[in-house]
């Protein structure tokens, strides 16, 4: 994903000399083409993320479209106040792009994990929060960021994420849930790089005779409320997946939506990272498995929920029948 980020930004900056790239001293060689093309639009701001963010606001004030880029916790939680005060409070078109959101850098330890970024950024007024699942979604996120400039956060994975779409997406498509498969029993909504596990879960469910719809939802804020409400009314069980804390992320936003609209009868299942620091060494796939963020874990919980839901429905029908008689 980060390679696509560098390619896409280089390509877009060819036609837009307002785009600037500020790096927090990462991306060695990654931006060589960008730098060759626009040597005066790239600045290594050093390991100084507060200044990088404040400077981005200053550059935006003068008409530029700056992108700040570094590892997820460093360009979000490290400089959260600079983001809040300098960027969305002034409503300036700064795009914050993080690399390594969620467990992408699992092995580097909790300093490099980022489970809180969506929660913290989505509560700031004027912020747009995007969580692309693959390189095609990322390209569309960047298109959106510069087509409708405003404070934007894009949480990227790292590199080598499998392509889910395999086609070009446009900015409109990523502003709504993107349907990948069509089913009836359950709806699975994935956001970010966990999406391939969600697709895999749908396949495993299908083998067990459960038909599921799968959606990708890259735009977490503003939340596509109308489309989501339609989904909630259509399926008895909706499951939301993200490599982010269960507190405050997309699934929390969906729960808020359900409560605010007093939608009854839909069961919302939430899959994410529990309220804990993850302290084990090892790979991202090991960490996902340890934390219950793999297809097999998903399937187990969904099957349990569906059978519970079926039993509940049977009970409520029979009690309704009794009352009727």
């Amino acid at each position: 994903m980060r390679n696509r980020f560098a390619q896409k930004l280089t390509q877009m900056s060819e036609h837009n000399d307002k785009i600037m790239l500020l790096s927090g001293d990462i991306g060695n060689r990654l931006f060589d083409n960008f730098k060759a093309q626009r040597p005066d639009r790239f600045f290594n701001c050093g390991v100084a993320e507060q200044n990088m963010t404040g400077m981005a606001a200053g550059l935006a004030k003068q008409g530029f479209l700056p992108v700040t880029y570094t590892i997820a916790p460093f360009c979000t939680t490290r400089c959260l106040e600079q983001i809040r005060v300098d960027v969305p409070f002034h409503n300036l078109p700064v795009t914050i792009v993080s690399v390594g959101a969620g467990l992408s850098y699992a092995g580097l330890g909790p300093t490099h994990h980022s489970f809180e970024d969506t929660a913290l950024l989505r509560v700031i007024p004027n912020m747009r929060v995007l969580s692309p699942a693959d390189s095609d979604e990322l390209s569309a996120c960047l298109e959106m960021a510069f087509a409708t400039p405003k404070p934007t956060y894009i949480r990227m994975g790292k590199k080598g994420e499998p392509d889910v779409h395999g086609r070009t997406l446009n900015a409109y498509e990523i502003s709504t849930p993107i349907k990948l498969t069509d089913g009836e029993d359950v709806c699975l909504i994935g956001s970010g790089t966990l999406l391939p596990e969600v697709v895999k879960a749908a396949e495993l469910l299908s083998e067990k005779g459960v038909s599921s719809s799968v959606y990708s939802l890259p735009q977490i804020k503003p939340l596509p409320a109308i489309e989501l409400l339609n989904i909630f009314s259509e399926y008895p069980v909706v499951a939301v997946f993200e490599e982010h804390s269960l507190a405050g992320g997309l699934s929390s936003a969906c729960a808020e939506l359900l409560v605010d609209h007093q939608i009854a009868g839909t069961k919302l299942l939430r899959f994410g990272i529990p309220d804990t620091f993850y302290k084990k060494s090892g790979s991202q796939s090991f960490a996902r498995d340890y934390l219950g963020l793999t297809a097999s874990h998903f399937v187990q919980k969904i099957i349990n929920t569906l059978s519970g839901h079926k039993n509940e429905n049977t009970r409520s029908h029979s009690s309704a029948d009794k009352k009727a008689t």
């Binding site: 507060q50 200044n51 404040g54 400077m55 200053g58 003068q62 409070f89 409503n91």
Partner: protein, 274 residues
Amino acid sequence: MFTNPNIFQSGSLEKIAAQLRINIIEMSYKARSAHLGSCLSCVDILTVLYFKILEIDPANPGMQKRDIFILSKGHAAMALYSVLAARGYFDPEMLKSYNQNGGTLAEHPPASGLAGVEAATGSLGHGLPMSTGQALAIKLNSGTQRVFCLLSDGETNEGSVWEAALFASAHKLDNLICFIDHNKWQATGRSDEVLNVTAHAEKWLAFGWNVQCIDGHDHQQIISAAHNASAKPKMIIADTVKGRGVSFMEDDNNWHYRVPNAEELHQAKQELCK
């Protein structure tokens, strides 16, 4: 209350500064608003900048080729509002709405809605990075405008100030001109005792800046320092007195938070009208 347009149009810098101080004290008294001492220490810097240095057009506040001034010590908002009104950015009558319910003139400068305010500040350590970004942008656009930024000495506690200092000197942003209002106090103590906020000149020199030390109440010294040419970003360390202009407020840090009563208001005005 507040206004004496004749002074602002044709008065000496001394008279303008005195009238601004009166306006500020009236605002603090009426709105029961703190930070009086911090406002009074930087009035002379603001007076000189807005009446002698900044290339601005209050009738056209969004003019593209204007100099930028960012009050990084946003708690001196009363001083900023007073000087903006004096220069004609908005009707001085608006000063009466300071800190009143539903108004625009909050106790720290707003992000939008008030002509002349270039940045919302109040949380310390934000103004210099934003100024640095603006100075860089102007250079990239081959502009000749300058960016001025006023910090408090206590504000240099913030690490973000030093991050910006390193960037600005690395990129030779000679269009960035900063002042430290060195009144030697911060909210709850002497600034050299709370943290090691001493040896400003040596620190900024070591960070690669052009450094000048001046009397921050001497208008000629402020003018000369602002005009001084250098290929580096410029830091003007302005030696000031907190509460300057009112005998019983000068160098008394209680006036960081205190607001005057009617008698103190009267006495302050009498002293400033002399």
